[in-house]
Symmetry: C2
Subunit: 293 residues, 2 copies
Amino acid sequence: MLDFSTHLGDIATQLETRLDQLLPTGDDIAQAMRWGTLGGGKRLRGFLVVESAALFDVPRDQALNTAAAIECLHAYSLIHDDLPCMDDDDLRRGRPTVHRKWDEATAVLAGDALQTQAFTILSNATTHHDANVRIALVAALAAASGQAGMVGGQAMDIAAETAGRALNLDEIQLLQSLKTGALIQFSARAGAILGQADAQAHAALTAYADALGVAFQIRDDLLDVDGDEATAGKALHKDAQAGKATYVSLLGVDGARAKADSLVEQAITALRPFGADASALADAARYTLARNT
Amino acid sequence: MLDFSTHLGDIATQLETRLDQLLPTGDDIAQAMRWGTLGGGKRLRGFLVVESAALFDVPRDQALNTAAAIECLHAYSLIHDDLPCMDDDDLRRGRPTVHRKWDEATAVLAGDALQTQAFTILSNATTHHDANVRIALVAALAAASGQAGMVGGQAMDIAAETAGRALNLDEIQLLQSLKTGALIQFSARAGAILGQADAQAHAALTAYADALGVAFQIRDDLLDVDGDEATAGKALHKDAQAGKATYVSLLGVDGARAKADSLVEQAITALRPFGADASALADAARYTLARNT
């Protein structure tokens, strides 16, 4: 895993540089956009874009724009999710959340502008020379993040919490497939879109991403139970406190670990058509189980 | 003006039908998206799209998609602007605002999803058969609504309020050109994008929209002073209470009226290259002075 961590870190560094170039500078909103986007995070989504694009020989320099767009979209969702009316979190990646460092209005607007920024980046000709590819990226990102995707999942989450009702396993799976799975799936499919790959490649990357997404979420739930807050850089043990159903509360720690193991195998199997070219993506799947943050 | 009101109303009705078809149904977020978008409003932005598109013989049925996208974007901005941490408004178009009818989390998410919905609509092939046109619309809408556009203007507005400092005329003009002007400019230019018109046509519509946008804002400021809350369907006299600088506080009622008159003339002059074809757009400019809501 050491080699993989280095590789993940290398791409994260390149992505950080690209985000720094693409994000605006200036007023409070620009600064808050940077605060919420730059300075850390595993950049798993960006990594999936870059590595899936590499399967189809898309130059990394080109794939980094799309990776930056998904990271802007992800950062917007975190800024809004951290708001007092949502998860009410004070800490993110070990630093004050945007509404704590500035105020709620700035956090709402910075999140709004980061969503827009994602579409600005995707629509730019430097992202891909072919307008058909760029518009396909826009359509796919919008589908993954809107009411029938990420936002729909966030709404299910809040509705369950408001109703004070613990969800069952089917409901958790649906919720997570929307809340986090949809953007992870977009990230892995983005390479196939950029590479104008065939339907079989799209299907393989979708199967990979869907299994990876669930494994990733299970690891998150496990970290919430046995993780270290200083390492994670955010508040933990919130699920149990809130009486929230998670993969761990429903399957137990051992059951959840076993399910994550099997999903990682499933994700790796889905990559078979790509052979050794997909080794970095396979490592990413293994890494989801090993990570501590 | 009676004929124009009928014409504006006809397009608004068609647009309402199109929005009803394009907006999702189902969960609370979908319902809140509909609440914030459907059921009224003058639809000035949508009207500008439809009428500017008509100059270049773009079929109305096609232009209505782009008009719907801008109305989704506008509705998202109103839902977030009404939040307690922003303008804290209880009433919009005579009905409870989204966070009053549901709650703040639903309002944040419904606004987020409506922004996404605007890009979903623009990226769809039914909006225009040519991907180059669709991606140009995405890029233009993102530029108009992001940190360097509408959101930037909202941030300036809040910053001035937080600092308790009344802005001067130059600052007000900059703020309004971003906060409301950028989307109005996009709306009028959208027809030229859809019609793949030349640079001269783009420039003429931009000049028209910029003058119209300021006239529209001055009329808003005048309505805040002498308007009727029941007719307006929202709280008025908020500017004076908040000690906010407006065109009226800076120019006086008569000075503001004179400036609006001259801007409407300017807007109509900009339309000259289009001759009689642009009579509906010219009427729209005259209408901004006559409107009571």
